[in-house]
Symmetry: C2
């Protein structure tokens, strides 16, 4: 609630300070205010006026920090600052438990979770867009947004499947058709939406229709594409999903703790609650947490095996190189410790520990900018939360703002350092070719390998 009051105070310096009741009266939506106006000139006049933004976005459900009547009566006895803590804490605990449960269920459930979250986040963003641009006269405009969501999901999901399950799909003729023509089908599905949009353009609504079109596309770009990067990460092994997600959660929680207890120096104007103390404390904790997590999970096939090996072949995979122990020389400045202990100055670690450090650094240094971005966005539209799905936290987007950027980073990281051309995938691709081309490749390869001396 503090943030909302700040916002109000900025714009109504006289009104907001006296009583909380007055502030709440301002926050409560009046039905007349949010009802659509179909008169063109009127609509043009009230449209997009930042000062009146609050009138439109008021209809978006906001977190009230309430847990239902019974719990609330108990919470009443606590001082307000602690009350928020309790609600937030309880729901953090609930979410972490549910998440752990799903992690134990394996990759398929996690992918379903990412899917669900993606849909809900998209809905939250689109709801804000529809409130801002007030296209209530076009009931199917919302449908169009969802159509684009389904289309882009079809496209991205297909691309992932083709990438990973190529062998399986080869066996089925119908799926084979979908694979071969995947891009063409997706493109035509998109074209249908595009034509639909163009045909729906109506005089006097142009500006807002284009704005919502842009809004939908930015949402797709931000949410759908990034959540598919996350799904691709799951394919690489659950740990590539679990570690970054936990790091962001850890960073969030620890920054909050450090900020709560030691926070003094404000970090950035966008989020007045964030402090340098929280930022640094969060970063340090996250790196430590990342190392521990890597050591804890790194030797369990359930977490480290690529999904295709573990689930599809149903055999124990060969442990990927990132998780095979290697001997590392301790940096010179620390030699003396090992001399005292009379031990060899080499330690056995698997490379993922270092990957984890890099990811933890990204999560704690660049990740928060995803959060700042979301804060700024909320301020632009004068809302406190993206929704009210999670009491004490707000909407799903409030929790997952940093996860998206992180997921993309991990995806790029995997693509660059981990999944560098995979021999078995190349063989798969070759076997997709016609028999003649398969032989062509084989002969060309034999020739090249003979040339380079690898074959006699």
């Amino acid at each position: 609630m503090h943030e909302t009051e700040d916002v109000l105070r900025q714009r109504h310096p006289a009104e907001a300070s006296p009583s909380k009741a007055a502030a709440e009266r301002l926050l409560k939506p009046k039905i007349e205010d949010v009802r659509p106006t179909s008169d063109e000139s009127d609509m043009e006049a009230i449209l997009h006026d930042e000062d009146r933004m609050e009138r439109y976005t008021k209809s978006i459900p906001q977190d009230k920090g309430s847990l239902g009547e019974f719990a609330d009566s108990f919470l009443e006895s606590l001082p307000p600052r602690w009350r928020n803590w309790v609600v937030r804490g309880v729901f953090t605990f609930i979410m972490v438990s549910m998440f752990s449960f799903l992690v134990n269920r394996g990759a398929t459930w996690l992918m379903a979770l990412v899917f669900l979250i993606q849909f809900k986040c998209f809905q939250e963003i689109i709801t804000i867009g529809l409130a801002v641009y007030r296209l209530y006269d076009f009931p199917w405009f919302r449908t169009l947004s969802w159509y684009f969501l389904v289309t882009s999901n079809y496209f991205f999901f297909g691309e992932s499947l083709i990438d990973y399950w190529a062998i399986l799909l080869r066996k089925d003729n119908f799926l084979n058709f979908l694979v071969t023509y995947h891009r063409l089908i997706s493109f035509f599905l998109y074209c249908i939406g595009f034509v639909w949009f163009v045909l729906s353009l109506r005089k006097g609504y142009y500006m807002r229709q284009f704005s919502l079109f842009a809004w939908t596309h930015i949402s797709l770009l931000l949410i759908v594409s990034q959540s598919f990067f996350i799904i691709q990460n799951i394919f690489q092994g659950i740990i590539w999903f679990l570690a970054p997600v936990s790091m962001i959660i850890c960073c969030d929680i620890m920054s909050y703790f450090f900020g709560f207890f030691f926070g003094k120096t404000p970090l950035i104007k966008l989020s007045p609650k964030k402090t340098w103390e929280g930022f640094v404390g969060g970063a340090f904790s996250t790196v430590v947490f990342g190392i521990l997590l890597a050591l804890f999970l790194g030797h369990r096939p359930f977490f480290v095996c690529p999904v295709e090996d573990y689930y599809i072949d149903n055999t124990n995979c060969s442990i990927p190189p990132s998780f095979q122990p290697e001997s590392y020389a301790v940096p010179r400045p620390f030699y003396w410790i090992f001399k005292i202990l009379r031990r060899d100055p080499h330690i056995q670690l698997f490379p993922f520990v270092f990957h984890a450090i890099v990811m933890a650094l990204f999560a704690s240094l660049l990740g928060p900018f995803g959060g700042f971005f979301a804060s700024g966005f909320k301020r632009a539209f004068k809302i406190k939360d993206f929704g009210d799905v999670i009491p004490g936290h707000g909407g799903l987007m409030d929790r997952f703002d940093c996860q998206l950027l992180m997921g993309t980073f991990v995806n790029v990281f995997i693509h660059t350092f981990i999944r560098v051309p995979n021999p078995s995938k190349l063989v798969t691709q070759i076997l997709w070719l016609g028999p003649e081309d398969q032989l062509t490749v084989f002969n060309a390869l034999r020739e090249e390998l003979t040339k380079s001396g690898l074959l006699p």
Copy 2:
């Protein structure tokens, strides 16, 4: 000029009709009107008000159909409808000549042309955005947009290069580094822009800063990604670029002609000048034109050879299958013609002729929607043209609106039907691997081929 008058008449019914001078007074930007206001509340009040949109976008240069003093004095003697024709015609001719010259110069020049057009189109769109959101107080916001342009160009250009010139790049260590870390580098370049944007957020400007951020991203999505699809098409062979581009031009010109001479039934409200007669006539002419063009260009290596073969190896390429003659049975209903002529009811054609028909149909049926989209966009912001670079035509975006969608279609088409896994590319990819992995692939492949009976 007709369109502008229409727009004016709609909104100022009393003023616009009496004299042309009055209309022109309204069109001419007054300096005071477009000057930025830094006062926050004032800015909020005037922001985004569709009715006042014209005040902002007035500063965008519009085509005046003028050819300089000398030519204008000659044109004065013509009736207005013909005057427009002449200016338009002259510049169509100039553009087509320049284009033909560049086509003769080969692929590199064409790619440079696409690059240039891409930059100019991006500039036109960003200029409109800056005029609409009036962020003159943030001189580096324009810089940020260009930064994103360069970043995304770096990303896409790199991806194309890696795809096509992998063999060349293997020889150079520095380029090798850029190839290996390409996505990571691009991602960090993007992150810098993202952080820059977040740090630049200033109270009272949030809404507009986010809008421009979205604006920039949509422009990147529309212009940069699609123009890279076009560049990829050039790599596949100049014909894959030249044929679709000419088809769109042909469709534009022929629709204009048919509409001019026979146009009666309006096609779509968005573009009142477009008629069903023009649409159908354009479609028919484009298909005929496409077939003739295919027959004319399809047997010249200069046009049909992939760029990598023709330019890099500097040898004559082996003609791709799409351009090798095949024997097609004439459809039964036409048998009698061949019976009368006493000829075999089979004709020799190369498959590209059919590809050309498909492309021509797309160009003439779906292509125009790119144009309608652009029309709607211009109407939303109350402008007649995207700029005034080409007299008689307007801005570059006015000419290339349909080219982008077409380029994407051709790219998908190539990806689906033409470039289906290329044996030599797969061999290249294998040779990128370490020596051990190369042998692994070879042995796995030999095993698989033996299993399937292709090898003894």
